[in-house]
Subunit: 401 residues, 4 copies
């Protein structure tokens, strides 16, 4: 039994955890297995090989860690850096804030580049810092590719360009939690040194697997990094990779089979088609927000996120009421505004295994909720705007033509 | 793996089989059990008691038969009638047609009262026949409560009233396949002698269980009915009911546990609330159809169905293209037009475990499809009309207030 | 929650319903689908083609009927015979008795050849009848390949031989419920005209699908058979086979996907290996029974069944106590003795997706139960006898070598 | 599909991950949910309250951490200790070794008390150290309650007695990974300061949840502990406990529902009955080993483990061959010998949701394997010895009497 039952499907539009497709739920519907039998290493081997594709890397080393995104962050930092290391980190929303908090608690000297919430990473500020840092005291640049709290995507290619321009050897560590498998992400091309995501995001699995990928440069850094680490230590994994048994401790058998199927589904649809689908759904959502006469929390088009849209409500409305109403009346789960934007924005997550009609159902629900809480939206207006765009951009389902 | 995969949820809006709620899917996710152990009879006993509530009967005898609706029909007929018996049967659409075909093949003399497809049962014609039948040669009146092919609900209370008015002893046999658990249905109050449904309809389970309920009068008729029957013979069930083992042959363990949960969910929501929800979704759908400028196949409001709406397309459109397009482009499953209305109508099933936003997602999909196939619908118009109504009529989810 | 929970796995050793392998449970763990979409016919087509392999037929026409074994019986009889037709039927146990009862109630003139329970079909008696029947009044010979109540396998090849010897045109109708997919079964080679099984037997699925296969001769007979039939009418299926939509009424989507996986598993193991596995487990069980000093209900080795063993208990023990004790103390489900052998035998089902150690666990459980109810068995004796044989005959698991 | 399929059930007898009962698998068979909705905190609240019962604590503070046992270790250490702290740790097998390795890498000064593998914690050595430590430089005593590598249970009550005797304030940190929910464990009575387990052990769930419980004294220590920690920081949990939202980062929805059911099953059986069942299965296993003429790796009865038995093979046999053979021929998963006892022992895990007949099936399998690899075991001997004991000690299943 669900803990709080309501008729029909729950419409899950938080930006994570997201909807799990039935084939993945099925794949995970199983008893435990001995992870030291030949079967699990054989399965793991295919996973490690295939998971690199979602990072668009051929040279990276992937780690499938039984943890969350927060743990994946810790893994990225502690394996590549030493206490006292100077790092540059962008603060643009709640998740970048939390990562910075972690960086500080792990005893790095964090040079924070702050932007207004709703803006992307301030690359001019980065340029200045890089230019000034002739002695290369900056050991890493840490950036959240897609800030889930504000729906802001920063330009990773531009970050790389700056690093190259200034011939700066700092590592580029990227939180791809709400981007990888959904937004264009090119680890090798953009020279990302550590990229990471969590299973419950665009991979559309349950929470519990932090997926981290390290460049050869990051692997080299790991050899000398002095941060204390055991559970998150890549070396323990590498030791078992060499042995061919792969696991320093017990993995979740269910998540391994789930990942196998999640990857199969991604590859069947085609990663580029998956990214195009996210682009389509993101754009459709923004068109609806515009039609409602509401503002996107994201201040410029260049930063618009195709995985989450933070919608600014008028001052006389508390966005928490929107979220509460959606859940208690329409079985619709929306994201709350967090921290600085609490009460001011609600978020529509449109990432993972999702299609057009699911989104349109959500948008029609948001319209009703907005009216419920006193915002004079014209019912159907957002849906119409989104549908007009989607009708022209949605491809046929390949397997059904 | 699904046989023909598309990203996101399949939007299942055929009028059966319908969406299965997660708790029922979970309940059925199990190994087989020995059906002769004490556990299964104990479970069955609660099911037989509780299933009577969905028929609103206290005096009826229920049968849970491993079959489909077609088998449930056969069970109703062969257990109560003898070859050559005269029966009156209403032909108003494809499913009443199929039932009549079965009645004829089972060697009853079927007095067919035909109406245009889109109209309900012709009760005047029934009145005439009953009046004329002073010698009570009519042994049964057979009626499909809700004709799934045209979205027409006939008035069972009125049928009962006529039978009473003419003091006619004919049995009243009712196909409640797309009505029971969704529309107002009162077996005892309306003097229904045999009522039946299938598990894959408003009960929101997989196909495989025909649920039949017989009044004391029907049970009495079963003692003398001469139709040949073995698999469908109620007597075989009664024999095992008396023994307390309940099953003349192996039941599906999974469907029994599924039914237990399906009933629990119905009772948790409240059967009257479930019926109100169907009424709400039905009305919302009709408002959308109206907003699109399309006609409902059902010719009069009194016959409007709250479980399925058959939408008439303009003559220059083939409704099969609507259905095909919905499935191949939007992962939306709509019902085809059948037989006489093939190509002319498509059907939106809105029965079972379904909520407002699921329906609105479907309606927005239908709008896009209509435009795709050349009908000049205003995108958002149907959704707006439906949402305006739903926003005023949808209650809070009780468990979440 | 299970209805009557006990810790650990339930040891399911009734001769049906049997253990469902995890991959089949997984495959069935899904929402409903529109059975009129292109996906389900495409899936059905592969099933109809592949299901013929389990019958070892290339010329047969298969039917996947939403029913149980009892319904499959009715399908076999009513589609090929006319009321009043003379048929010869062997009575050797409870299931052949029930089939004969059905035959009589369907108004065939049944010429019963009875044997003691524990003996196979009396082929001498058949020979006499065939010889005497110069005018070919016998329209069908009905035989249960494996009588589940007594664990008796009759010799189908010998039946065919007799029919050929006497050049008798009678149809050969075979109940293969507890044989097909487990025992050697050769529909084409043995000239079986209708063969049938149920999904919950050696196919190791839930109950709910009757699988019937008809020879060209049976299909020809169906054209003139006058038995009344609608739900079970093959013609309705054939009509939809021709249309390529396959289903005259709604199938269970879950069982279709389950059958797909069940067949995949059978073919992966290899049908002949599956049959060899059953032979191995049957033999091991009989060795245990012998070691316990108990008698097999089956009177001669030629009739020994490799899918179920009926064990005769000493007169001072009620076999129902064995079954009850097994379930209430050891979570072991054994089969009761039925009808004539009630109280006298208990049954060990060893069919379906089962391996050596599962059987040995069961046998050790039976030993404890026997001791519990007062039979002086030497603990470990049966297990030892079975294991000695199994150790020499069990092959390596192909996929793991 | 399983990655390496074999017919029938996999017999899973590694000491973790263990068999998941069907009700838990069912409970986890679900889509994601928004963990910030009111439903998940409400569920979490019941879990935090109920999980204390498995530790037998009323004063402890539990943490449900998305990690494995290794992460739970790290959580216990880093939250209560500061780098450079002196701790006493017992080395008696592979898992205590790994924990010590972690302790050292986390920069504690570890005073290792080593015993032969197969012996329990050397409490005399502890006594000496405590006696000598007048200035209380020892900040913590770390002990693995049940060493999974050797099947050795150490006496926690005796450790507490020593600490009390010497009035030593050191924290008592206990790895209860293969003991809690299976062996007698009394956090409050024994003054355990941090106890921990993993979901995939006696709780019989998938891997992925580290369950840690801290005494008030440990909570106090956490306020001043200087070990660097973020992901594992209890303070982050406490902050969200106070807010009533409970989660500092995304939990696995599936594991939460799984834990709810796992606890329900434990309480339905009764925790003391669960422990008695483990005692029964442990004893039965040891009787079998004795009957086979083999030695238990555990050197004294006082250390015998009721959750895992490490069986010593004769020198002419490689225990890895036993494990390999079991898996490739009998679908039986046994535990390998690790590190010092690699090749010398194989392990039978008998923990979690397991019953008598499952164990007996395993034991019969081990007998066949032993014979396969050249050890002259008498088939049936171990099964007989185990069954003789089990028959006298196994209770009726309460729900079935």
């Amino acid at each position: 039994m669900d803990f709080v039952y309501g008729p029909g499907k729950n419409h899950l539009f938080v930006p994570g955890p997201v909807n799990i497709p039935e084939p993945v739920i099925r794949a995970m519907n199983r008893n435990n297995e001995d992870y030291r039998s030949p079967a699990i290493p054989a399965l793991t081997k295919t996973l490690l090989e295939d998971v690199k594709k979602i990072f668009k890397t051929t040279s990276g080393t992937p780690f499938l860690i039984p943890t969350t995104g927060t743990g994946a962050w810790e893994s990225a930092l502690t394996n590549t850096l030493s206490p006292g290391d100077r790092i540059v980190s962008f603060l643009i929303g709640q998740f970048s804030l939390l990562w910075i908090d972690q960086q500080q608690r792990l005893n790095f000297r964090v040079d924070v580049i702050e932007s207004d919430w709703g803006r992307g990473a301030d690359l001019d500020a980065l340029a200045s810092k890089l230019e000034a840092d002739r002695s290369h005291t900056i050991k890493a640049v840490c950036i959240v590719h897609n800030e889930t709290a504000t729906g802001v995507t920063s330009d990773l290619a531009a970050v790389r360009k700056l690093l190259d321009e200034y011939r700066h050897p700092a590592l580029l560590l990227v939180d791809g939690v709400s981007s990888i498998c959904a937004l264009d992400f090119r680890m090798d091309e953009w020279g990302v040194d550590v990229a990471l995501t969590g299973s419950q995001k665009a991979l559309s699995m349950p929470t519990g697997m932090g997926i981290v990928c390290a460049s050869p440069k990051a692997m080299e850094a790991a050899k000398t990094a002095k941060s204390v680490r055991v559970f998150f230590d890549w070396n323990d994994y590498l030791k078992f990779y060499k042995l061919g048994t792969y696991w320093p401790y017990t993995p979740s058998i269910q998540l391994l089979y789930g990942l196998r199927t999640a990857l199969d589904l991604l590859f069947e649809e085609g990663l580029d088609n998956v990214i195009a689908r996210h682009s389509r759904l993101g754009k459709a959502t923004r068109l609806a927000v515009e039609a409602w006469g509401l503002k996107n929390c994201t201040q410029r088009e260049e930063w618009f996120s195709d995985t989450v849209t933070a919608v600014v409500v008028p001052p006389y409305i508390n966005s928490a009421d929107v979220v509460k109403r959606a859940w208690t009346r329409y079985n619709l789960s929306l994201g709350l505004g967090l921290n600085k934007v609490a009460g001011k924005v609600f978020r529509i997550g449109h990432l993972g295994n999702l299609n057009e009609l699911q989104l349109l159902g959500c948008l029609s629900g948001v319209e009703m909720v907005l009216k419920d809480v006193g915002y004079p939206v014209k019912l159907g207006s957002g849906v119409a705007a989104a549908a007009a765009y989607l009708r022209n951009s949605t491809p046929m389902i390949t397997s059904r033509i």
